[in-house]
């Protein structure tokens, strides 16, 4: 119990240290960034906490000048980063109010955040209206740059969710899994429905004649999946696909594994990496997991990712999962853009128009490799995606990934001006998947 209380206080202290900064105008010789993520609610544990922990590790290290090159300039352009942390819980209306507060009261120089697609869609027009450079780090809705088709201040360094599902379909086909019939279990809201739509469309292109055995859409946070597991087992598909996340995903794996559902067929979880160290053998070896991009356990080995992994583990005594990497990527992108915009003027906050101009089409190094802001007219990151099989070693009690296969961004991302749905239905024209 003491441990639990200590951990809780540590998380709050981490958020508090960032949040407790004094409120005054931005002319204080600091670069003020609004950081928005879930600190409460069901998304806090799997996504919010790793992301805020990642932000804390990076911001502290940047302010101390301890991040490896090319980010070894202190803070952002030599200015200390002052983070104003906001809880994303509470719905889109509340988030719009919070965003206006960040812009008008806290006078932030930029905002980094947002996990919920609903929040991103609500914030995007407000960011454009107020002219605040805003970097979405995680939300995956395809509608972001379909609705805001002439973005100026809005950027996204995370990937579109369609890529998760196109990548999942390609992985299943390329690794030779039997895929004559597929079944899905998704949370019943836009995330689950869009994921299933993209996945089935991609599978129908890659494996014509594939049958849909059953599709289940339980309520989000339902927790009990007994009837759905029976329905999946009776339909006896070759593949089960799920875009479940957080507690729902862990409960599905636990209950499905206890009933042998996962033993007999291939299961793919697009967000599975976020619980890699939490399954502790309760997931069947061979379960296919993704990380919504080259993040977390799928991050390539490079100086930045090695540094971040070591720094995160040292500070938090746990492995960083993909939300931590995605948050770090967004802040690094902002730093790279701001320093490019303020080139030759160290110690200054660049004009916001110069900052977004520098961010547009930027190529920068990140913990996930090189990021090209080359989609959505230079406002959306183009990156690849990887999937692999979960394996748990009972002796060492450690989980690892095997049979990892990565796809380049050009292989799984529609070209500018084409929606993911159109691109999939047209048979992925122009996809460059290499050998």
């Amino acid at each position: 119990m003491k441990n639990i209380v200590q951990k809780s206080l540590a998380v709050m202290a981490a958020a508090g240290t960032l949040a407790a900064m004094p409120v005054h105008a931005a002319e204080n010789g600091k670069f003020r960034v609004g950081v928005v993520t879930f600190l409460s609610g069901a998304a806090a544990g799997p996504f919010g906490v790793p992301s805020i922990n990642g932000a804390k590790v990076l911001v502290d290290a940047l302010n101390e000048g301890k991040v490896p090159a090319p980010y070894n300039v202190k803070g952002i352009n030599g200015l200390e980063i002052e983070a104003v942390v906001i809880d994303e819980n509470g719905g889109a209306t509340k988030q719009v109010e919070e965003f206006r507060n960040l812009a008008e009261r806290h006078k932030v120089d930029a905002v980094v955040g947002y996990i919920s697609s609903g929040d991103c869609l609500a914030i995007s027009p407000v960011a454009e209206e107020l002219g605040v450079p805003t970097v979405f780090f995680d939300c995956g809705t395809s509608r972001l740059f379909e609705e805001n088709n002439k973005p100026r201040y809005v950027f996204r360094t995370g990937l579109d969710a369609a890529i998760d599902n196109i990548g999942a379909a390609r992985y299943l086909i390329d690794t030779g899994h039997k895929v004559d019939s597929i079944a899905g279990i998704q949370q019943n809201y836009s995330w689950g429905q869009d994921s299933w739509g993209d996945f089935t469309a991609a599978m129908k292109q890659l494996k014509p004649g594939v049958k849909i055995a059953t599709e289940q859409f339980p309520k989000i946070f339902q927790g009990q999946y007994g009837a759905e597991i029976s329905a999946l087992a009776i339909s006896n598909p070759d593949v089960i696909h799920s875009s479940f996340w957080g507690g729902d995903m862990e409960a599905l794996v636990l209950q499905g594994n206890a009933r042998g559902l996962l033993d007999k067929r291939t299961t793919i979880l697009t967000c599975g990496e976020s619980a890699l160290d939490r399954f502790k053998g309760q997931a069947t070896n061979g379960l296919i997991v993704g990380a919504r991009g080259p993040f977390g356990a799928f991050a390539p080995k490079n100086t930045l990712s090695d540094w971040f992994h070591a720094a995160y583990v040292a500070k938090n005594e746990m492995e960083p999962t993909y939300p931590a990497y995605k948050m770090v990527q967004a802040i690094l992108g902002l730093k790279a853009a701001a320093e490019k915009a303020a080139a030759g003027k160290p110690g200054t906050v660049p004009n916001k128009d110069a900052l977004v101009g520098a961010f547009k089409g930027l190529t920068f190094e990140s913990v996930s490799g090189t990021v090209n802001m080359s989609r959505a007219n230079g406002h959306q990151a183009l990156q690849g995606i990887a999937y692999g099989e979960y394996h748990f070693d009972k002796k060492t009690k450690k989980a690892s990934l095997q049979n990892v296969k990565a796809y380049a961004g050009e292989c799984v991302t529609p070209p500018d001006g084409t929606t993911a749905t159109e691109w999939i239905k047209a048979g992925f024209p122009g996809a460059k998947c290499g050998g």
């Binding site: 069901a42 927790g223 009837a227």
Partner: protein, 299 residues
């Protein structure tokens, strides 16, 4: 045929879980006329206590794994008792003469406070305490595997339902409670210590809520917000069955559980709708619920 078995067994398992969650809520309303919005928090507290204690037992001890079931039940009883006593003695006993609507607001405030208190005590990271769930293995019924833990839950739920019914209908204390339920003022006039009955009922209700959470914890990921999620379902069950009726809660849980199971297997597109569809249908025909009594309003 397999689908038929599956609908029945899945329906029974879900219904037994629904009854576990709703039992405490209906007991408290039946005796005290308090529509307890904080019931979901008692469920969450039970789940967190069980998950953290059992998690600690399996990570730090090499003891008999079957002892974890005792820990589950023991910690739920202690947590329910402590929370019940603190809330009843520290808050509710000062509010008993307030009207029912105000009590809803008070218990809603309590729900918000307890949600944050739970977060402060246990953090926002999910707890994954799977061992008691996996330990019992699985059984093959009609060609379909079911977790024995879930099947055992049906038995436990039936035992709790039977216990509640026997206490209410076959014991002296049950007679006294029914007198309080029937007419509080006459019960007082007859020398019944209503305050003591209220305190006992509330503590029993919180303990049932905590027990439901503890028994559910091994099969889910215990995370913030689980209490809020279950309270909606619990209300649906007790409204269908009739507020304050144990028999009603049993029938309501069976009706909702079976209908939902039927929908999942035969028409998954309407699964989300059927629970509230059943509730609406019952309320349209019997606004007081299947086992609810129509009460004359005192002026």
């Amino acid at each position: 045929m397999t689908t038929f078995y599956a609908i029945f067994i899945d329906g029974m398992i879900y219904a037994s879980w629904l009854f576990l969650v709703a039992a405490g809520l209906t007991v408290i309303y039946g005796v005290m006329r308090i529509l307890n919005m904080a019931h979901g928090s008692f469920y969450a507290i039970g789940a967190y206590c069980a998950a953290s204690l059992v998690g600690w037992y399996f990570s730090d001890f090499d003891g008999n794994p079957y002892l974890s079931y005792l820990l589950l039940i023991g910690c739920a009883l202690v947590a329910g008792l402590v929370v019940g006593v603190v809330i009843e003695q520290g808050l509710l006993r000062f509010m008993y003469k307030r009207n029912e609507l105000l009590m809803i607001i008070i218990t809603y405030a309590l729900l918000l406070i307890l949600e944050d208190a739970t977060k402060l005590a246990f953090g926002v990271d999910p707890y994954f305490t799977y061992q008691p769930y996996a330990l019992l293995g699985r059984s093959d019924i009609g060609g379909l595997a079911f977790a024995n833990y879930d099947l055992l839950l049906v038995v436990v739920s039936a035992a709790i339902g039977l216990f509640c019914w026997l206490v209410l209908n076959r014991t002296h204390i049950g007679k006294v409670l029914r007198a309080v339920i029937h007419d509080r003022e006459v019960a007082v006039a007859m020398g019944v210590n209503v305050r003591l009955m209220f305190a006992g009922t509330f503590i029993f209700g919180t303990t049932l809520g905590a027990l439901a959470g503890a028994l559910t914890a091994p099969s889910i990921s215990v995370s913030p917000g689980i209490g809020v999620e279950v309270i909606v379902l619990a209300f649906a069950v007790v409204v269908v069955g009739g507020l304050g009726s144990i028999e009603g809660a049993i029938v309501g849980a069976l009706l909702v559980g079976m209908t939902r199971s039927l929908a999942v297997h035969l028409a998954p597109q309407i699964e989300l709708f059927v629970i509230y569809g059943v509730m609406s249908l019952v309320l349209a025909v019997r606004p007081q619920g299947l086992f609810g009594r129509t009460l004359a309003r005192k002026i």
